[in-house]
């Protein structure tokens, strides 16, 4: 579904009129003019290292305040940074996974004052980032370009006391530097994201890659993955690029979708009124569903970037890049392609996407290799093995059930029930479970007898069924099938029932 479950509203509380085509989000401004979304996403991912980016202090979430700090973390006078090799390799791994160029890179200082930044500059990468020019294929098939990814250090965290924990109205703040210096990979997409759903898919896909490659654990709820959206709109069908705003404080995929839709509408309304969209950073407020200006300083920050004089350039040798590339796991898009090819479906088909998303594509492929019909295997994996323990069901068991189903020994309903029991206890065979539940294949004669019984018990309905129009027949077909299912205790094969009904009503 392209839109969020709740109806998004604009700053006046009016529902946002949103018409989402398959690919592009179009919003209607207050005057009826139509504006399409142009969006780029910046994702900050904390890297899965033992220690921090520039020192040996532990990279660990959730510890007591200021227990994971050393002199370098605190930026004590005289201290110096030294680059964490693993962080560099994880960044390179990510770059290779998205087909990007991993290049010689240089660290730079980004200078600004803020109490959660011990040195009042952040060591980052500016004009020579480690990764450039990659791309990500979404489950929808849409490809989003990734302009760059670079390494930088995270900041500490402040808690605001008084003022209900928010920064506005707080009496004072307390700063914990445990997070300061944690390695971050900042991943910047090109403005190829054209709908809120694409944005959601992009972030989910990125996360899958980061997790699969061991680069980050991607937990938005713990803050180890953070998303900012750069949003602008343009007249529908044009190719202009208008002023954009950066939206921060989006803490979940759902917030991302809501924030994008709100902001697109806000900007469309401004343009429609002939007003300017101010280029600025805005803060998404989850509680009131709006973005707010963050402009509390008189002037924009001038970061005064210059090359970090305490560090030297990093350039991984191509032999090492080859090793990292060879060690890459299968990525989600590769898995989709692989599964789709085997089952003969497009890569965008929902069962393919879902199976890969849930990490059950290997299970499906194994069951298919064990002889299970591809389409039925995939369907069961997606529909019936989404439960706890479902992914652990041995492939041979799944293959067995599907063989019995395709061979007519089990109906679809029965297959589902057998699978449920096998998930709970896979030591039994599918045949054993089926037998124990009395799921023998119903004899066609026995089934026909039941059909005749039900017809006899409902003569008026049968007469209407035989003579009625399509609408009536459809409705009564459901009635008779239901009755037959009841009488057969669910063992009737739905297809066969329909066949028999059709046969008997026309004779």
């Amino acid at each position: 579904m392209a839109n969020a479950p709740t109806v998004p509203t604009d700053s006046l509380g009016h529902p946002i009129t949103v018409a989402a085509s398959d690919d592009v989000l179009v919003v209607e401004a207050h005057d009826g003019s139509r504006w399409e979304l142009v969006c780029g996403l910046e994702v900050h991912a904390e890297l899965h290292t033992v220690t921090k980016m520039f020192s040996g202090a532990p990279n660990q979430f959730g510890d007591e305040p200021n227990t994971n700090v050393d002199p370098v973390t605190l930026g004590l006078p005289g201290t110096l940074p030294v680059v964490n090799e693993r962080a560099v390799e994880l960044a390179a791994t990510f770059g290779l996974a998205i087909g990007a160029t991993v290049q010689r890179s240089v660290f730079s200082r980004k200078n600004y004052f803020y109490p959660d930044m011990p040195k009042n500059f952040q060591i980052s990468q500016y004009d020579q980032p480690i990764v450039v020019d990659g791309a990500l294929e979404l489950p929808s098939g849409h490809v989003v370009g990734i302009e760059r990814a670079h390494l930088e250090e995270d900041t500490g965290k402040s808690t605001h006391v008084g003022g209900a924990g928010r920064i506005k109205g707080a009496e004072y703040s307390l700063v914990d530097y445990n997070r300061a210096g944690v390695p971050l990979l900042e991943i910047v997409s090109r403005p190829h994201v054209r709908s809120a759903e694409q944005a959601r898919q992009y972030v989910a896909e990125l996360r899958s890659i980061l997790v699969a490659c061991g680069v980050s654990d991607g937990k938005m709820e713990e803050g180890s993955m953070r998303v900012d959206a750069n949003i602008s709109v343009r007249p529908e069908g044009s190719d202009e690029l208008r002023t954009r705003c950066e939206i921060k404080n989006v803490n979940s995929l759902r917030s991302l979708v809501r924030a994008i839709e709100f902001e697109a509408k806000r900007q469309a309304d401004l343009h429609a009124s002939g007003e300017k969209v101010v280029q600025e950073t805005r803060h998404w407020d989850e509680a009131d569903g709006r973005t707010h200006t963050m402009r509390s300083k008189e002037e924009a920050d001038d970061y005064r970037y210059f090359p970090e004089p305490d560090l030297v350039p990093v350039e991984l040798p191509s032999s090492r890049l080859d090793e990292l590339r060879a060690a890459l796991p299968l990525l989600p898009s590769q898995r989709r392609h692989r599964l789709a090819a085997v089952v003969g479906e497009p890569i965008t088909s929902e069962p393919v996407v879902v199976a890969v998303e849930r990490g059950q594509d290997d299970q499906a492929l194994a069951a298919i290799a064990a002889g299970g019909d591809p389409a039925r295997v995939l369907l069961h994996v997606v529909q019936n093995l989404a439960v706890d323990g479902g992914a652990e069901l041995p492939a041979e068991r799944l293959a067995e059930v599907v063989r019995m189903e395709v061979g007519g020994e089990l109906t679809a309903t029965q297959a589902k029930q057998v699978l449920a029991e096998l998930v709970a206890d896979p030591s039994r065979s599918a045949a054993e479970v089926a037998a124990a539940k009395g799921f023998e294949a119903m004899d066609t004669g026995a089934l026909e007898a039941i059909v005749d019984q039900v017809i006899a018990a409902n003569p008026d309905e049968w007469a209407s069924f035989c003579t009625g129009d399509d609408k009536a027949r459809k409705k009564l077909s459901g009635f008779f099938t239901g009755q037959i299912m009841k009488a057969s205790k669910g063992q009737a094969d739905g297809k066969l029932v329909a066949q028999l009904l059709a046969q008997k009503s026309s004779s």
Binding site: T67, E85, Y172
Partner: protein, 100 residues
Amino acid sequence: MSERISRDDVAHVARLARLSLDEAELDTFTAQLGAILDHAADVEALDLADVAPTSHPFDLVNVLRADAAGPTLAPAEALAAAPSAEDDRFRVPTILGEAP
């Protein structure tokens, strides 16, 4: 008197650097900074389009450290010099505005 840097420039730069100057200081610093930048005009006049910048006097690359834990400070040590602390954290007055 040099025109090289204006009083407004100096005021702007002081704000960026989190320094507060009174009117007299603003005048003095404007004059002094102007004189220094005047002197540096000889550099400005050079045509160095084909010259690469030097950030480091020598060509080291790939100075990296293994991802292994090193010694940390206990909170008490980390906060020992803190002008104000509470609950093992550094206490600061109201922060206006989110980080950039």
